[in-house]
């Protein structure tokens, strides 16, 4: 996976804010002005990426989700302009 997909990061202009409550989180995406309600794990994934670029195996280990779930979440977050693959 890492050869095809070398890593992911927060999109440079995303300007994110996260808050967590009881297994859920809300995300403010400054670039779009949108607010999203997400499962806590996706918030933790974004926290990991906020600490620097990460590959999917690292994210899987950090947030205790299946690789497929992490990949699916990253693709959806990328579609929203929140994260992006590192070229």
């Amino acid at each position: 996976m890492s050869e095809i997909d070398p890593g992911w990061r927060i999109a440079p202009q995303a300007s994110l804010a996260l808050r967590f409550w009881d297994g859920e989180c809300v995300l403010y995406h400054g670039a779009s002005g949108d607010t999203h309600r997400l499962p806590e794990e996706i918030g933790r994934l974004l926290e990991q990426l906020a600490g620097g670029m990460a590959e999917i195996p690292q994210l899987v280990e950090a947030i205790n989700l299946h690789s497929e779930d992490v990949q699916r979440a990253l693709l959806e977050l990328a579609r929203l302009g929140i994260v992006e693959p590192v070229q």
Binding site: E24, V26, R37
Partner: protein, 299 residues
Amino acid sequence: MKLYELGLETLRQQLHEGLILETGPFRSRIVSHAPEVLSGLWRLYGEFPIHTGGFCDFHVRVDRVSGLRRWWRPQITFGLDGGEPFKPLPADHAFASLEWGLNWCISGHAHHYLMLHAAVLERNGLAVILPGEPGAGKSTLTAALVLSGFRLLSDELALIDRDDGLLVPLARPVNLKNASIDIIRAFSPGAVMGELAHDTHKGTVAHLKPPADSVARMAEKALPAFIVFPRWKADAAPRLTPHSQADAFMHAATHAFNYDLLGRLGFDLNAAMVDRCECFDFEYSRLSEAVRIFSDLVS
């Protein structure tokens, strides 16, 4: 000076020239020749401060439409700064029109606050925020709580101060609709209400006079402590159950007047409010039981 100190005749004259009324952090200069506005202000705003000059946030006018309409099905218009943002309404809706118009002035302009569509009450220093879908019984519950010793901050607009995250009072009359008018009359026969306005876009409406204590304390902000989503259900036993904080956040954001406009600040203020609050759903059928539950909550 308080409005009632003017006396009715002087109030009438002041309304012709421009009455400066203080409601919470706002001053509105009101011009009106409509008898319904005179009687509504006299009956419901007696305890509010008035002023003779100085800066006013809103310059509003509620007056009859001129021409033939003056004699045939008379209508009134609400004006702001010389413009008329709404269609004319029947003349007997004049006071309701002033109330709705003032709400519109605040919700459309006071962007130095995060403004949520919710009622706010306080007791023992703890504010209860009541968001609510139309028909959920928010105004009825608000009126019952206010008539039972809770301080009224607002029945429609929760204003959150951007500097300290506290709730800012307005203490204006509670807007009751349709069946809730008689429910509140039965709950508290001594409650003071304005005249009924029939066949408005909300049905029959009447406004409940805010308690003098709520008006006297309208400079006193309150700490958000609870967000309660009320739901009236026939014959239901009163039941308070936890509500997701993330959902409360999203509900507040979705029903705010200016959350999107404030951007990151709106997110931070909303999140700080939710951080401070316990969140509940509340199902009830009897107001007396609801008052008991809320009194326990803030005790």
